[in-house]
């Protein structure tokens, strides 16, 4: 009998040990469901690829944004800048290693940046680091462990620009021209995780812990980053337990369901993103009265609060109201006023003469081509704007497509309204974002021939161009902020863009399994060593 009891006790103990081991193993693995925007991890390949490495915690940059959009050192701990703001000497943090064990020292950092600039000069690489930093030279001082960046123009704050994912530091092993390296499926960075495998077709990635991480032990031994395109699927997947963590469930009702359940922790923040529709000045919306009436017919507040259920915070300026650009001083004369919109059109002679319910311009029914895609509620905005414009007698045809097709249609100018969602201050200020409306006397209008042009909406304003040029030339922060506000006011006065609102990002975790899953203000950062299993 004693023997039997011992055997039973031993069996129970073994079973408990097995259970504990299985449980520990489960705790060591994180299932992350997310939208994967790129089929590559190479920061030089194209912008989304650069973002992907940083979002999945594989790569890091010299600096990083805090939640209040101030900048902290990351791989660089201290820096000095010359008086003319053209020479930046960056000290690389001692003791940092790449995930393969190599030292991430000044030479490695300089090589990584030099390789970026070298290969991006070639056609097959689409990233554009020169857009943000016009680099003259990159030199390393091995003894002082510093990298000196000399730029051709003065920059008010290069550290914020160096947070941008283009400038992530990867181990290029001295290969400055990609002669023997290909970073599509994997890249060696300094982040908490390492790409173990990546399927470029399904865009699913398996990550493992970086044993050499400079900030200490990484909580998860492995992470499965599964590409989930559909928001409702993300919500259902976390509810079913298939994933433990996900980002940006943008269907308000699904997010509300998760928020109401204590099993899930939803971290939300007002991001630096603006949702808006470009208005194409080369089409019928070049007519000032029609364009103003379009803006006046849209009840932006209700769209943000009800139609997309609070996924956006309403605002009419192109930059989020939470930024430092004096939103409260801006005046918008073309806010929601349906009757005013109708009167404006009637007074301008844009009326419905044939009684079909659609107004005519130059003898033809007004039908606006609205291109959008299913991302961050943009298609919901498009549908709501379609019915809003129907109320004032303007027909809208929506083309709901994918982001790549939309981009091609936009470049071809085949639109009147084109939805977009931009990170407005990706380099710490809106230099790149405000280029969308910079005409440069017509030289910056995209026409298919000039690949470097950034103005796809054919908006031209001398006043705006002058302000933009003064803004880029200035290194005085207060003056720059004032110029940005003035540019915003010009855009508002011209009804140059239809702003939907400012996107609120979210991170959703299973609170019984995961802790520390907080969303960052700027969405370069998803996975970090702060996200840990529940003890």
């Amino acid at each position: 009998m004693k023997r039997v009891s011992k055997a039973v006790a031993a069996g129970i103990a073994a079973a408990m040990m097995c259970t504990a081991m299985v449980s520990a193993a489960a705790q060591e693995h994180l299932n992350f469901g997310c939208y994967m925007y790129a089929a590559s991890f190479d920061p030089a390949a194209y912008q989304n690829a650069a973002w992907q490495g940083m979002r999945l915690g594989v790569t890091e940059a010299l600096f990083r944004f805090n939640d209040d959009m101030t900048v902290s050192g990351c791989l660089c701990d201290t820096y000095e800048v010359s008086e003319d703001h053209k020479t930046w000497t960056l000290h690389i943090r001692d003791g940092v290693k790449f995930s393969n064990g190599d030292d991430c020292n000044a030479q490695a950092v300089a090589d990584s940046l030099q390789r970026l600039y070298n290969v991006c000069a070639r056609e097959e690489y689409s990233s554009t680091p020169s857009t943000y930093i016009d680099m003259a030279s990159i030199t390393a001082d091995a003894e002082a462990n510093t990298v000196t960046l000399v730029t051709n123009v003065a920059y008010a704050d290069l550290t914020a620009t160096l947070c941008f994912p283009f400038y992530t530091i990867i181990d290029v092993e001295g290969d400055l021209d990609d002669e023997s390296h290909d970073y599509t499926e994997s890249v060696i960075g300094t982040g908490p995780y390492v790409v173990d495998s990546f399927d470029v077709t399904t865009k699913n990635a398996e990550l493992v812990r970086n044993e050499n991480y400079w900030k200490g032990e990484v909580p998860y031994a492995s992470v499965s980053a599964t590409f989930i395109e559909d928001d409702t699927t993300k919500a259902l997947a976390i509810q079913s337990g298939d994933i433990d963590l996900t980002e940006n469930v943008t269907t308000a009702s699904d997010l509300a369901t998760l928020e109401a359940d204590d099993t899930y922790y939803v971290s939300k923040t007002s991001s630096m993103r603006t949702g808006f529709a470009y208005l194409n000045f080369a089409g019928v919306l070049g007519n000032d009265d029609l364009r103003r009436a379009v803006c006046m017919a849209v009840d932006g507040q209700t769209l943000c609060d009800v139609t997309v259920g609070g996924m956006y915070t309403y605002g009419y300026a192109v930059l989020p109201s939470s930024l430092v650009y004096d939103y409260d001083s801006l005046v918008y004369a073309y806010g929601y006023d349906v009757e005013g919109a109708k009167k404006l059109l009637d007074d301008a002679g844009i009326v419905d003469t044939d009684g079909d319910g659609i107004r005519e311009l130059n003898g033809e029914n007004i039908t606006l081509r609205y291109i959008t895609y299913v991302n961050r509620c943009l298609s919901d905005f498009a549908e709501a704007i379609q019915v809003s414009l129907a109320e004032i007698g303007i027909n809208v045809e929506i083309t709901n497509t994918d982001s790549d097709t939309e981009w091609n249609l936009m470049q071809a100018g085949a639109y009147d309204l084109c939805d977009s969602n931009w990170t407005t201050v990706g380099t710490g200020d809106p230099t790149a974002f405000l280029l969308n409306w910079y005409g440069d006397g017509g030289a910056n209008l995209y026409d298919g021939e000039n690949a470097e042009a950034t103005n796809y909406c054919n908006y031209v304003s001398e006043e705006y161009d002058e302000l933009y040029e003064a803004f880029t030339a200035s290194t005085d922060v207060e003056e720059r902020n004032r110029l940005v506000a003035q540019m915003e006011q010009v855009l508002l006065d011209d009804c140059a863009v239809l702003v939907h609102g400012y996107y609120n990002s979210a991170f959703i975790s299973n609170a019984t399994k995961v802790t520390g899953a907080e969303i960052s203000t700027i969405d370069y950062y998803w996975l970090s060593s702060d996200i840990k299993p529940v003890e």
Binding site: D254, T302, V306, T307, D380, E383, Q386, V387, S388, N400
Partner: protein, 270 residues
């Protein structure tokens, strides 16, 4: 009246009721199905809105009733197209035989070698998303059934003496096909067409659900299902009522087709 006739008449009445609802939709609906009231979004079913409201605050009952217009009209147009196209091709192939038969039937074989819905998605994707293009896409992959059926029916009667007599008396080919071949094939083809209405409606709704058919703000059941998918948990009525509408109409037209077959099938008499 025989039982099968009673059944046929019953289903015919139900089908007519659906058609009537579609025709008289403007007089039946309490609200403009396209009028949005953004502040009334996602209201549950109530006395004010029998089926609730959708994400733009539009009355769902009105949209479901109006949806019958788009769904029925497109399904009937589609069936008419494939009926006409398939019959002409099949009768021609069966009657002329030889290389005409070989070419037409190999073409039909090619079309049916692809999964129908996948090919329809590809065609609709190339043509662009619209209800008309969805009808064209499904028609391109569905006519083969009628062609093969009518061809086999023609082959069955091709050797009959009355056809030889017609030729002997100088009847022209067109006359023979229209006067002798087509009437012989028609009952079977009509039964097939009647039973196809439901399945064609489902295929069109499927394409609209996937974004290749009807586009917003059209009131179409497949599109309405797609719009409701994101609100499945919070506003299930957005999926339930368009789904029920598809279910009921497809069942009625399928049963109508079955009962019509029972009525017309001569073997049942024996």
């Amino acid at each position: 009246m025989k039982k099968k006739h009673v059944l046929f008449v019953s289903f015919l009445c139900l089908a007519l009721l659906i058609v009537l609802a579609a025709v008289l939709a403007p007089y039946l609906v309490p609200y403009d199905p396209f009028a949005a009231s953004l502040t009334d979004a996602l209201k549950p079913p109530s006395a004010e809105h029998l089926f609730g409201t959708d994400k733009l605050g539009r009355d769902l009952f009105s949209r479901v009733i109006y949806g019958s217009r788009a769904s029925l009209a497109s399904a009937l147009a589609l069936v008419a197209c494939i009926f006409a196209l398939g019959s002409v091709v099949g009768i021609a192939a069966g009657y002329f035989g030889g290389w005409i038969d070989a070419v037409l039937m190999r073409l039909a074989d090619m079309m049916i070698s692809f999964p129908g819905m996948v090919l329809a998605i590809a065609v609709a994707g190339i043509l662009g998303a619209s209800m008309t293009n969805a009808v064209i896409a499904v028609a391109l992959v569905s006519w083969t059934k009628y062609a093969r059926l009518s061809r086999s029916l023609v082959l069955k009667i091709k050797g009959c003496e009355y056809l030889a007599a017609a030729r002997l008396t100088g009847s022209r080919t067109g006359h023979i096909m229209w006067r002798y071949l087509f009437p012989n094939a028609v009952p079977t083809l009509v039964i097939t067409a009647a039973t196809d209405i439901g399945s064609m409606m489902l295929e069109l709704a499927g394409l609209s659900f996937l974004g290749f058919g009807a586009q917003a703000p059209m009131a179409e059941w497949g599109l309405m299902l797609s719009e409701g998918r994101s609100y499945m948990q919070k506003a299930p009525w957005m999926m339930v009522f368009p789904g029920l509408a598809i279910f009921c109409v497809v069942v009625v037209f399928n049963l109508l087709g079955d009962s019509l077959r029972d009525v017309l099938d001569p073997r049942e008499e024996e």
